[in-house]
């Protein structure tokens, strides 16, 4: 939403002389906030019209994937039954915004055939949501002096409308999932996630909502109760994609919690990358050099992990010792009676299709030699199966080294990028915390729906004419730089 507002205020200011901008900053802030109020009002107006129970069928009519629909409803019902600790307000806001989007396509895009759908939507795009209409009218006022030849514009408008319509169809097809996130204090939050969101984005919005202090260790952890295993989702992973692997009657949980092991690898790389047996200290400067050496080059070398591990035999509760080695191409073991020459190694599994999980309490569940177990399985497997591989280490250190080395082999540089990104957020969080809260709050309330709203409202105003949209991109950057300047000044003042 923030993006819209940039555009709305910048339109008049762009025409003014830039010298005045500094003095006008306060005014602009005022205008901006006023605009924001209007918008929230219009959102509020739309809200009481329908209750969530009525809204749900509306979703059913649209072309959303059935599965996601069922899934969401199931979760909502569950959430409603749970009663007390559901953040219904936030949920309502999310649902309302979806409803608004959908109302722009009054017809249901079903299997009636592509062309027919196109034609229909063409005529209907003119009905915008409250918010959108307001914006386009606003833009019209300040840009009417640049109206081109009527017919030409009409043609353009039509083409643009088709594009917008297609955009909206696409938007409507975006799966959204209502999820329950469990916190470490046994409470839970209900929120809506969009199928395009990465774990990082979801973490960000959770952090903003929960005011729990920023740290790169905050993680989304998937726990599979039935198999007694868990995994920290990587920041770059797609959350919805992972959650859709769960079965409908799943007892799985999604935990929002701090886990030091998530990025321990980067905080103390010497314990993971050097293949040493004992933990040790290292100067920060050397750590950086080591990380740069491992992840900075054109290829990432996998830490040399090898050693005896216990492997659970298929279908039995017995564990056998084997000598395992990790290579970039997968996990191998040394066959009996052979030396560990590369060519004689037997491929245990390749890492493309499996994830590495942390097994819990396997000593009692599977008679494991120790409780330091890791599990390798395809993310879609949710029940006991011969395709799940269980490995057991002698101590927790070995386990962590293996798990982290497998993560490096699987994700390579991406892991390091995730870490750097998480660190950047942490640093940025300090700057942001000193800003006036009103402007940020309004941004965060809709942050569970990234871009979706701002996207199509900017679509609709670019539909007015080509020239305005060109003007926008320019002035938008001007304004945003003014904002950032102002913020910087603000933070300096407080320091």
């Amino acid at each position: 939403i923030i993006n819209n507002h940039y555009e709305e205020i910048d339109a008049p200011s762009a025409e003014e002389d830039s010298d005045k901008e500094d003095q006008d900053l306060d005014k602009m802030f005022g205008a901006w906030l006023g605009e924001l109020d209007k918008l929230t009002q219009s959102l509020d107006d739309g809200r009481p019209e329908q209750s969530p129970q009525q809204k749900a069928p509306l979703r059913q009519e649209t072309n959303m994937a059935n599965f996601s629909y069922r899934f969401s409803i199931y979760n909502i019902n569950e959430a409603l039954n749970q009663g007390e600790n559901v953040d219904l307000d936030a949920l309502m806001a999310d649902l309302c915004s979806i409803e608004q989007e959908l109302s722009t396509i009054n017809t249901k895009p079903n299997s009636a055939g592509g062309m027919a759908r196109l034609g229909l939507t063409d005529t209907k795009v003119h009905t915008h949501t409250h918010a959108c209409t307001q914006i386009s009218v606003y833009n019209f006022c300040c840009c009417c002096h640049c109206v081109c030849v009527q017919e030409e514009q009409a043609a353009k408008l039509k083409a643009e409308n088709i594009r917008v319509a297609l955009e909206k169809i696409k938007e409507a097809q975006v799966k959204k999932l209502v999820i329950r996130v469990h916190l470490s204090d046994e409470s839970s939050k209900t929120m809506m996630v969009d199928e395009r969101q990465t774990v990082r984005q979801v973490l960000d919005s959770l952090l903003e909502k929960s005011h729990c202090g920023y740290s790169p260790d905050w993680s989304l952890v998937e726990t599979i109760n039935e198999l007694q295993m868990e995994r920290i989702f990587e920041d770059h992973e797609n959350l919805v994609e992972n959650l859709l692997n769960w079965t409908r009657d799943s007892q799985n949980r999604l935990m929002f919690t701090e886990r030091i092991e998530k990025y321990a690898l980067f905080k103390n790389p010497q314990n993971y990358l050097l293949g040493r047996k004992e933990t040790c200290e290292m100067a920060e400067r050397n750590k950086e050099a080591l990380l740069e050496e491992c992840f900075g080059g054109s290829s990432v070398s996998v830490p040399e992990m090898e050693g005896v591990l216990w492997l659970k035999e298929d279908g039995k509760k017995s564990w056998k010792k084997r000598y395992f080695l990790l290579r970039a191409s997968g996990i191998y073991y040394v066959p009996k009676g052979k030396a560990k020459a590369s060519r004689d190694l037997v491929c245990f599994l390749q890492l493309d299709h499996v994830n590495v999980y942390h097994g819990q309490d396997y000593k009692s569940k599977y008679k494991a030699p120790t409780d330091y177990c890791m599990v390798l399985k395809h993310p879609q497997i949710q029940k006991k199966s011969q395709y799940i591989k269980y490995l057991c280490c002698d101590d927790v250190r070995t386990l962590q080294q293996w798990i982290n080395s497998i993560r490096i082999a699987k994700y390579g540089k991406q892991l390091y990028i995730n870490f750097q990104e998480a660190m950047r957020r942490t640093e940025a969080a300090y700057d942001w915390s000193s800003l006036s809260s009103s402007s940020i709050k309004s941004g965060s309330s809709s942050s569970s729906l990234p871009e979706s709203q701002s996207n199509h409202s900017s679509q609709s105003d670019s539909g007015v004419s080509e020239m305005t949209s060109a003007g926008h991109t320019r002035s938008q950057s001007v304004v945003s730089s003014i904002f950032s300047d102002a913020w910087r000044r603000g933070t300096q003042g407080e320091v």
Binding site: I162, L274, E293, S299, A328, R343, H353, H378, I381, K383
Partner: protein, 654 residues
């Protein structure tokens, strides 16, 4: 003369200089000189005396006894310490050299014989358009064993000696290649040879090559590197001698496919041969993947060689088009794509299905299959296909493996489909090649979450066809591979160990298996992927030297890697100790006892003498890697040659 004074009479003496260009039988030219005459003056006198009018600018004086060039023309004879007994030779500094490239091709080109080899390599690389010449060096080739029948041993040599030296010193690109390659069709053909990967070698060629059998064998090759701080003449290299140009330091900086056409191609060739000759160990799975990539690279470079050798402008256009394609795929927001999705194509046919996991004795059963989006559904018959399918299987995320035998006309698609309960195994049997290619391509795309509407569907079908064609020709046995892609023998793609282990037709399905994951790569992507997997091998970048550690009685092996040194116990064959350059405080070399001493942080001191290579070579390796690691910090493109010599020269302790 007498009147001009006593001094002159005292100092004048005869200096004899052999002028190489006059031929070996011509006696030396004698010049009357004085000790205060500078070298430039000597050359001037000499040229006047020979009375030959030509360009002498590349010529210089070589002092035979002292094995040094007299390149400082302002220095006097006295300063150089030259007396009447000195035998000097006047000859060009650039002489022809036979140069073996990583891809097996031999060039004849003019190389500098007077500057340090480091400079010589820079010159050669500039001529060949290879960036970052500091990563390469020259080494003496292995002696080729003289075979009884000598008729095959004459290798074709491509001549580059006509390239004017002036154009090499200031290269400008024309049509994406250095201007001197654009002069004639012949030259252009040579450039193509440098920049396009060679077809897979015939299995016999691989088998015939020398293969190191042990880590000690591998250590011997490193004794052949030339000293970078001395010139070719000083190292006994003669005109027209043969040397190899190879990547020596395995720290490849700033690879940019757009500018590094030759560099990438040669790097790929060196890596390919290292794998084929088991210079670096890998597992069977990795070997199959390398094989699949080689196959793909050779196929793509034959069908679209213009991609690598095209001009920069074309590249820009190409990459722009490519990114546009990616964008359209990624956003899938264009109207045309939306339409395409709405009228999604499907496949419909009778196929046979078999589920090996179910405990039934029933074999394959025929059903009417429909492939739509990323799912397969099947019905009892075509007529019933309007109703509910018997089953619908979504293939997204599944594993697809081929099981094909052309001779037996067996076309099987093996699917491993993940489900909450585990993996379901399903076999689909096709009737013929055409059907198989279509359904297999669809399965592969679906496993990646793409539908039949995806733009890569047709090329996927094509690549399946071409791979089947390969199997077809393999079943009829013949040896002359290398010719065209239709007749690639899979034995050309793997090391000789697997020639013995598997027959070509047993190998094909295994390589095909690995191939499906790489079939969509462009040429550059495939080459980069090959290099990436090579670099990810545990033993990558290790150069071995047999050494004797101080206080030890037995030979051990020192492995020199881009970031560390390792000590390998020859008895066990295991790494016993690792030292990282990051912790290195200083290193010294004692030339008298030929011993290197290195000090690491934490009071760790090691000292060793070198057995299979000169001390200087080892010293240069370590110093060279330290030099390579300094490159990232300074942004400039100019090489800090002084630093290189300081780090590798061993004249002063650091």
């Amino acid at each position: 003369m007498f009147s001009s004074g006593i001094l002159t009479i005292m100092a004048a003496w005869d200096l004899s200089v052999t002028v190489e260009d006059l031929g070996p039988d011509t006696p030396p030219v004698t010049l009357s000189v004085t000790s205060d005459l500078h070298v430039g003056g000597v050359i001037l006198k000499l040229v006047e005396k020979t009375q030959i009018k030509r360009d002498w600018s590349d010529h210089a004086l070589w002092w035979e006894q002292k094995q040094r060039w007299l390149l400082r023309t302002a220095w006097t004879l006295e300063k150089y310490g030259i007396h009447a007994d000195a035998r000097l030779v006047f000859m060009p500094q650039h002489k022809p050299l036979k140069l073996g490239l990583p891809n097996g091709i031999t060039l004849r080109l003019r190389a500098c014989f007077s500057n340090p080899v480091f400079q010589t390599v820079i010159g050669i690389c500039r001529m060949l358009n290879i960036r970052h010449p500091e990563e390469l060096s020259l080494l003496r080739p292995l002696e080729e064993k003289k075979k009884k029948k000598d008729k095959d041993s004459t290798v074709e040599i491509y001549d580059l000696t006509e390239v004017p030296l002036s154009s090499v010193s200031r290269p400008c690109l024309y049509n994406g290649m250095p201007a001197h390659f654009a002069d004639s069709p012949q030259m252009e053909a040579i450039y193509k040879m440098l920049s396009v990967t060679q077809p897979p070698p015939a299995p016999e060629v691989i088998a015939k090559q020398y293969r190191p059998a042990s880590v000690v064998d591998k250590a011997h090759i490193n004794g052949r590197w030339l000293d970078s701080s001395r010139c070719l003449m000083q190292q006994g290299i003669q005109e027209n001698d043969k040397l190899w140009l190879r990547f020596k330091y395995f720290a490849f900086y700033d690879i940019e496919p757009k500018y590094d056409v030759v560099r990438l191609t040669q790097l790929y060739e060196q890596a390919r041969w290292a794998i084929l000759l088991e210079d670096i160990d890998c597992t069977e799975e990795e070997m199959m993947l390398f094989g699949a990539l080689q196959y793909h690279i050779s196929k793509v470079s034959q069908s679209e060689p213009q991609l690598l050798s095209s001009s920069a402008a074309m590249d820009d256009l190409e990459s722009a088009l490519q990114s546009l394609e990616v964008k359209m795929e990624g956003e899938s927001s264009s109207a045309s794509e939306m339409l395409e999705n709405m009228t999604a194509p499907e496949l419909n046919d009778y196929l046979k299905i078999f589920r090996p996991k179910r405990l039934t004795l029933k074999g394959y059963k025929q059903y009417w299959f429909k492939f739509q989006d990323t799912s397969i559904s099947y019905f009892k018959s075509k007529e019933e296909s309007i109703g509910e399918p018997i089953q619908q299987i979504n293939l997204k995320g599944c594993e697809v493996a081929p099981d094909v035998n052309m001779a037996a006309q067996k076309f099987l698609i093996r699917l491993l489909i993940p489900a909450p309960e585990g993996m379901n195994e399903v076999y689909l049997r096709c009737e013929n090649e055409q059907q198989y290619a279509q359904w297999m391509a669809a399965c592969r795309l679906a496993s990646k979450g793409k539908s039949l509407a995806d733009s890569s569907y047709q090329s996927e079908i094509q690549s399946i066809h071409s791979f089947l064609a390969m199997q077809k020709t393999n079943s009829g046995s013949h040896g002359n591979a290398a010719a065209s892609d239709e007749s690639i023998n899979t034995h050309s793609l793997v090391s000789p160990r697997y020639h013995k282990k598997y027959k070509a037709k047993q190998l094909t399905p295994r390589i095909l298996d690995a191939y499906q994951n790489v079939a969509q790569f462009s040429l550059t992507e495939a080459v980069m992927r090959f290099l990436q997997i090579w670099q990810a091998l545990p033993d990558f970048g290790l150069s071995y030297v047999v050494v004797r550690f101080k206080g030890s009685r037995k030979d051990e092996v020192l492995g020199i890697a881009p970031n560390r040194l390792i000590r390998i116990d020859l008895g066990v064959g295991d790494v016993v100790k690792t030292w990282r350059y990051n912790n290195m405080k200083q290193w010294n070399v004692n030339w008298d006892i030929k011993q290197m001493a290195i000090e690491f942080e934490g009071n760790v001191n090691i000292a060793f003498s070198c057995v299979t290579a000169d001390c200087k070579i080892v010293h240069e390796f370590i110093g060279g890697y330290i030099f390579m690691s300094t490159r990232s910090r300074e942004k400039s493109d100019t090489l800090n040659e002084e630093l290189f010599h300081k780090l590798t020269g061993g004249h002063e302790a650091l």
